[in-house]
Amino acid sequence: MTQQFLLYPLLWQLFLSIVLMFAWRHIQIQKIISIVGSAIGVGLSVALFYEVWQNGTLVVQAASWKAPFGISFVGDMLAATLVLLTSIAGLAVSSYSAASLIPARLRFGYFSIFHFLILGLTGAFLTGDIFNLYVWFEIIIISSFVLITLGGEKAQIEGAVKYFTLNFLASIIFLTAIAVLYGLAGSLNMADLAILIPQIENRGLVEVAAILFLVAFGIKSAVFPLYFWLPASYHTPPSAIAAIFGGLLTKVGVYALIRFFSLMFVEDVLLDQILMVIAILTLISGGLGAMVQTNVRKVFSYLIICHIGFMIAGLAMFTELAIAGAVFYLIHDIVVKTNLFMISGLIYRIKGSNRFKELGGIYKEYPKLSLMMIIPMFSLIGVPPLSGFWPKISLIIASFDTQSYFILAAVIFASFITLVVVAKLWAEVFWKDPDKFPKKNHFLYFKKMTLARKLQMILPILMLTGVSLYLGFGAENIQQLSIRITSELMNTDFYINAVLPNN
């Protein structure tokens, strides 16, 4: 029974979307099913996490076809952790969207598609087969494309076109890379490939495949110079949707990069150097981009890009400590970025705008809420002892160890620039005396909401803030977890033997 447990979080999300489709016209029922269902989903993911933590990697061969012929699902520590974080972010956003989205958007199967998105994310983390990974990516793209266009405002469609075009391009490149790799190795099972790739004699073509994968996942995870779709599209959909996008979509790309370049394309000097340059430029360009923006959500969009750089930097240095830092940062970033976009939605509800010049004085009106909102921002900067601080320590020590001083400089520069950006944001949005702007008619301001609805919006933020605080104050546990994940990643035999026990 325990082996089958691996797929329960995945199957549960599929089941939820099906049930939600039956209740197509009944939004109120959908809200309840979605929130309760997401809570059960968190329970299942916690159980999976506990199981993997106690008894090691779980493997399911779908339809009982033996690897490498069938599709393997592998739940190692990294996958289990990310599935858990996905379900936590899913629960938060599910409750948040029930409160903050207007019925016109919810009417066209929002919750059903939302759970398909979570399904795609969970599947992408669990699968051990490259082509299956491609299929999960397609599920993610299709459902996110529906979510980003729901409501059909002009700005939304414009953002969606940019988003879709570039992500579609990434899919094509991904597929091409799969074709090249299959032609070379004759297998698409990740564990099998980990054995086969070092034996291939045509190293040039292996490198080509690796670069194609790097470009495909680079577009998905929005690294320099492939990030332009992200700031062009993430501020257009409602913030509930932007929250799940910002928290998780780019992170799937990072996850795929970590998995591919630690398991299959391991010893490749050229790639390490490319990754290093990409990491440095991503850190700098994302940070500078965030500096000049004057819209809360655009600032957060650029900060996503900037902070992807930390994880790529960890991957580029490729020492045990560096990877542990990258993994810790990944864990921290999913929670914080989801939370930040929900906060931007809360600001929008309070003031009716996200532009700096129409904002101000929130601290005066809602001092307690403002204090709640500052915690995720401080963890974003990495103020000790909050969660952003610890992975940066690991990264900085690792960059001293490997003598990559450019990365060291970029990491410090990006942290500093995040501090400046957040300080500017705090001053503009929370402290500044607001100019008088006419109140919008037909707009549901936060003040006029019912208490239940306010709670539905604030509780998810509080929950994720709590998780953030735990990541900071319980950093020892998380560091232990990251180091265990890293040791599993660095020792590829571990993964291979789990999937192919008779090898």
Partner: protein
């Protein structure tokens, strides 16, 4: 455009096409065919009926909104995948088969129900899309 010839023909074509789509569905385990193609053919049968007799008549014939077929088919496919997990603690989607084949249909297993689910989903999706487009046109 409503012609008497098409209208008369569609009355006969509808059951024949539906039967043929089921034939294609059952054939699909070893030979070309299966739930996807079968579902497309079944939806063509209804689309032809709609061309000949108008959308209203076809909707009356169907009795419920085709959108309902999507979750119903998905649920069937999902349960057929889940059955081995519940019954035998085997991996998701493992094929379970009855020991003795049934005449005409052949051997019955979870794969058949999965394909029937696909058939229903494809039928539902295609009809929903085409009905929506022809309603707004």
């Amino acid at each position: 455009m409503r012609t008497l010839i098409l209208k008369t023909a569609s009355d006969y074509l509808l059951p024949i096409l539906l039967l043929f789509s089921i034939f294609i569905l059952l054939r699909g385990h070893y030979l070309p065919g299966g739930g996807f193609v079968g579902g497309l053919m079944a939806s063509i049968a209804f689309v032809l009926h709609a061309f000949a007799n108008g959308l209203k008549d076809t909707k009356k014939l169907l009795k419920f909104h085709p959108g309902f077929l999507m979750p119903a088919g998905l649920l069937l496919s999902f349960l057929s995948g889940l059955l081995p997990v519940i019954l035998q603690d085997a991996a998701f989607m493992t094929g379970l088969w009855l020991e003795n084949p049934i005449p005409v249909i052949g051997s019955i297993g979870t794969a058949l129900f999965f394909d029937v689910g696909v058939y229903i989903v494809v039928l539902g999706v295609t009809l929903t899309i085409i009905f929506t487009i022809s309603e707004s046109a």
